[in-house]
Symmetry: C2
Subunit: 109 residues, 2 copies
DNA sequence: TTTGTATATCGCAATATTACGATTAATATT
DNA sequence: AATATTAATCGTAATATTGCGATATACAAA
C-alpha cells in the first residue's frame, strides 16, 4: 500500500487534495510567500532566502511548477520564477468553495 | 533525511503547512465535505460513505482530530464526529491570509 | 576555448504516509 | 453472563516524501 486510492473520490476531491498537498510543506509556503513579497521574478535568491540546499529548493520549485502554481522563464543562466496568477486564483477559488461549506450552523455534539 | 526541517521556517509557515497537509488527502477532504453536508454529527456512516476500510478511516479521523479540525463525542458504542467550527474558521482565516498576498500585480516573466 | 555561474537531475538514505488484517476495548443487547 | 456492535490500536507491507552530495547541463564571460 502507501498508495492513495484516488478512484474512490471525485475529481474535485482529488484536485483539492493535490493543491492542499502542494502547500503542505513549509518550504513551499515560504517560496510562495517570498514570490508574493517581492512581487516579481526571482532569479536565484531562493536558496539563500530559504536556507535549504540548492537541489532541495529546485525540487520544491519543480513540484509547484508541475501543479501550475508558479512559472519560470529562462533568463540567461538563471531562471526567473513568479506566481502564476490565473492558476493561483483558480486554486484559491477551489479551496475557498471547500472552506465555505458552512451554510447552516446546526448545533451538534 | 525524510524529515522536514521545521526550524528553518516561521511558526506561521509551519502552521499553514500543517493545515494544508491535513487537507492534502482526498479521503480527509471527503470526510470534511460529508460532515458539512449532513451538517450534524456522524455516527459511523463514514466507512460506507468513503469506501475505505474501517481502520483507515479511523486513522484519518484521528489526524483531523489531532489538528483540532473535527471533534468526536462518544455516544453509546459509537462516536459522533462533527466539524470544530471555531478551529475550522481559524484555519480558514490563516490560509486565506496566505492566499491573499497578491496586493500589487506587477507584470513579470 | 576555457572558466565560471546558475539550475536541473541522479542516486541514495532516512523518514513519513497510506492502507488494511487482526486484535483489542468499550458499551449495548439479549 | 454471553453475545453483538462500534471504533481504536497494533503490526506490517508498499509506496511517497524529504533532503542533499555528486554530477550534468546550459549559457555567459574571459
Amino acid at each position: 500500500m502507501g498508495l492513495i486510492k484516488t478512484e474512490k473520490f471525485t475529481d474535485s476531491q482529488n484536485q483539492i487534495a493535490l493543491f492542499a498537498k502542494a502547500l503542505g510543506h513549509p518550504a513551499r509556503v515560504a517560496i510562495i510567500q517570498h514570490l508574493f513579497k517581492i512581487n516579481a521574478c526571482v532569479c536565484g535568491d531562493l536558496v539563500e532566502e530559504i536556507g535549504l540546499a540548492q537541489p532541495t529548493i529546485s525540487q520544491h520549485l519543480k513540484e509547484l511548477k508541475n501543479l501550475g502554481l508558479i512559472q519560470g522563464t529562462i533568463e540567461g543562466t538563471s531562471v526567473c520564477y513568479c506566481i502564476h496568477k490565473d492558476n493561483w486564483s483558480a486554486m484559491k477559488d477551489l479551496l475557498n468553495s471547500f472552506f465555505d461549506n458552512d451554510l447552516n450552523s446546526n448545533s451538534c455534539c
